[in-house]
Amino acid sequence: MTEHSTGITRRGALKAGAAAIGALAAPSYLRAQAAAVKIGVLQPLTGALAFDGQAGRLGAELAIKAINAAGGIKALGGANIEADFGDARSTPDGGSSEVERLASEGVSAIVGGFASPICLAATQAASRYDLPYIVDVGVNDQIVSRGLKNTFRFAPGSSIVSAQALDNLVKLNDAAGRPIKTIMLVHEDGLFGTGLANLLQTELPKRGFEVLDSIAHPTPSRDMSNVALAIKAKNPDLVIPSNYYGEFVLLARTMQQQRIKPKAIYAVLNGAASNYRFVKEFPEAAQYVIDTNHWYDPRNQTALDLKKEVDGMGKFFTYNVALNYSAVLLLADAIERAGSADRAKIIEALETSTFSKHIMPYGPTKFVNGQNTGAAPVNTQVQDGDIKVIFPDAFANAKPVFPVPA
C-alpha cells in the first residue's frame, strides 16, 4: 500500500516559507525610501595613474555624500545616490572592461575616466549600452568629436585649453618685455601629450616663438637625465612640459639637479605643476612653475570648504577632486530634472543642462556636441609653497612672476 502524503511536502513548505518571508519583508520594503540610483565611478585606481584616480574617486565620493546628506534626488522621492566604483587599472582595456561590468550591474550613468585613452575606450564601450558618460578630465578632442550621444565632457578639452594657454603666454611675454623667444616642448608620448605637442608646434611659430625641439617620453619613465641633457644642449628660454605626475616630478627634479634654469616653465595641462603634493614634496623644484589647467574657483565658498575638508583628511585637493565633485553634481542635477534613473532620459536632461552650482571657474553648463562650452582653464603659478591663480584676471588671486628671477 502506498502512503499518500497528506502532510506538508518539502516543496510546499518552501513555497509557504517564501511567501511568509515576502509578507514579512513587504512592509519594511514599502517603508524604506525610494531605491537608490546607482552610478558608476570609473577611475584608474591602480597602476601608473593611481594618484590621479584616487583623487578623482575622492571627489566623486564627497559629492555623493553631499547630495545624499541634502536629501538625495527629490524627484525620485529622496532616492540616495549609490556609487559603484570601477578600477580602469590605468589602461584603456581596463576602462572598457569595467564599463561592461558597470553596465551589467545596472548603473544609470558613469562619471570619470581621467586619462584620454581611458576616456576614449570607456565612452565608446558605454555608448553600446546608451549609457550616459560624463568625462571628468580626459582632454583629447577626439573624445567629443566622434558623435557619441552618450558622452559629455564637463571640463575644457585640449583645443580650448591650448588656445587659452597660447593667448596667456603671449600676454605674459608682452607684459614682461618679450624675454621669451625660443621654446622647447617636453611631452608624454601618449594621446594627450602628443596631441597637445603637435598643436603647440604649429601654433607657437604663428605667435612669433621658435620651437627648438619637441621631446617625447614614455609613461612611466625611470629617468629624465637624457631629456634634461637635451634641454641643456638647446638652452631654450621656455620649457613647456605636458606630462603626468610622476614624469614631471622626475623632470623638475632632474632639471634642478642639473642647474637647468630656463626663464620660465610654462606647463599646459600638466599632471604635477598645479598639484599641492608636488609643491609640498619638492618646493624648490616647484617654485614659479606656471600651469594652464583645470582649477577650482578660488572665490567659491563650497570649493573652499571642500578644500578644507580634503586638507583635513590629509589628502591633496587636486583638480581631479574638484572636477569629479562638480561632474557628479552635474549628473545628480540631470537625474533630478529627468525625474528618472532611466539612461535615455538622463542623456536628454544632460543635453539641455544649464547647471551652474559647480565649484569650477566656469559659466553655466551648455553642452554642444557633448562639450561643455561654458568650461575654461586657468593659469596657476606655484608661489612660495602655494598654488595661485594668475589668469584670467576675474579669478586671479596673485600677480604672475615672469620671467623667473635668476
Binding site: 597602476g47 594618484f51 637625465s225 644642449a233
Partner: protein, 289 residues
C-alpha cells in the same frame, strides 16, 4: 647632432643607471646559475625591499644606513622563502619552481597594494639634490653612491664565490648538483643561501635606488625585464657578465634615448636582447656548451 659633452654626459648617465641594473641582474643571474630557475618574484622582492627602505627612511633611518639592516633581513627572508616555500613546493621539478615564483610575485605585489595603496612615494634625503660638478655635467650624488655600492657589492660577491668555502660549495652545486651532494654538500642549504644572497643584493639595490626613484607596488617590475636582458647578454649565471652587461645596457638605453627619443630608448635594449640570443646565446661571459 649632439655636442660631444652631451654624448659623454649621456654615457655617464647610462653607466650610473646601468649600475643599478647590474646589481639587480647579479642577484637574478646568481639564482639562475645555481638553482637553474628563473625567479619571477625578482621584481616583487625588489619592490618589497624598496618599501622596507621607504619606511626605514620615514622612521628617520637613511636608506644607506638601513642597508646594513635590510640586507641581512632580506637574506634571512630569501633563505626562508627558498627553504620552506619554493623548495618544498617545487617537488623537484623546475617548471613548478617557475610557477611558484610567479605566484609569489603576484602575492607580494598585491599584498603591498592592499597594505600601502598604489601611490608613488618618494623620500627626501639630505644628499638627494647634491651633485658632483664635472664641469660639463652635474652627477647626481644618489646615483654616484649607487654606482659605488654596486661595484663594492659585486667585488664582495666575487670574493665570496671564489675565496670562501660557501662560495666553492655554491659553485659546485651550480656545476654538478649530484656530485656536490655526494661529496657532502648540503644542497638544500646552498640553494637557500643562494636565494638569500640574491634577495640581499636586491635589498641593497632598493636602498641605493630609492633616493633618486620612487616606490609603488609595481616599481620593481621595470627593473625585472631589463635584468633578464642583462642576464642573457652577460651569460646565464655569470656574475662579471651581469655587472658588465648591466653597465652596457644602461649606456645603450641612455644613448638610444638620446638619439631616437625617450619613447624608443627601450628599443635598444631589446634589439640587443634579440641579437644576443641570435648570435651568442651563451652570452658574453657564459660557458660555451
Amino acid at each position: 647632432m649632439f655636442a660631444p659633452e652631451i654624448v659623454i654626459a649621456a654615457v655617464i648617465n647610462g653607466l650610473l643607471t646601468g649600475a643599478v641594473y647590474a646589481l639587480v641582474s647579479v642577484a637574478l643571474t646568481l639564482v639562475y646559475g645555481v638553482l637553474h630557475i628563473i625567479n619571477f618574484a625578482h621584481g616583487a622582492i625588489l619592490t618589497a625591499a624598496m618599501f622596507a627602505a621607504f619606511f626605514a627612511s620615514q622612521a628617520g633611518v637613511d636608506p644607506l644606513v638601513a642597508l646594513f639592516g635590510l640586507a641581512p633581513l632580506f637574506f634571512a627572508l630569501g633563505y626562508a622563502t627558498q627553504r620552506y616555500v619554493i623548495g618544498p613546493a617545487s617537488h623537484g621539478r623546475d617548471s613548478n619552481i617557475l610557477l611558484v615564483t610567479l605566484g609569489l610575485s603576484i602575492v607580494i605585489e598585491n599584498a603591498l597594494l592592499a597594505a600601502f595603496g598604489s601611490d608613488t612615494r618618494t623620500i627626501d634625503t639630505p644628499y638627494g639634490f647634491s651633485t658632483i660638478d664635472l664641469g660639463f655635467i652635474f652627477l647626481p650624488m644618489p646615483r654616484v653612491i649607487a654606482f659605488g655600492v654596486t661595484c663594492l657589492v659585486a667585488a664582495l660577491l666575487w670574493a665570496l664565490l671564489t675565496r670562501t668555502d660557501t662560495g666553492k660549495a655554491i659553485r659546485a652545486v651550480a656545476k654538478e648538483k649530484l656530485g656536490a651532494a655526494l661529496v657532502g654538500i648540503d644542497v638544500t642549504h646552498i640553494y637557500a643561501v643562494t636565494f638569500g644572497i640574491g634577495a640581499a643584493c636586491l635589498a641593497v639595490a632598493a636602498c641605493v635606488l630609492l633616493p633618486s626613484y620612487y616606490v609603488q607596488p609595481r616599481a620593481g617590475e621595470a627593473y625585472t625585464l631589463v635584468a633578464f636582458t642583462v642576464v642573457v647578454l652577460g651569460g646565464m649565471g655569470s656574475v662579471p657578465g651581469a655587472v658588465i652587461g648591466g653597465l652596457f645596457i644602461g649606456v645603450v638605453e641612455s644613448l638610444s634615448g638620446l638619439y631616437f627619443g625617450e619613447s624608443l630608448g627601450q628599443l635598444g635594449i631589446f634589439l640587443i636582447f634579440i641579437l644576443a640570443l641570435l648570435l651568442r646565446p651563451t652570452g658574453l661571459f657564459g660557458a660555451r656548451g
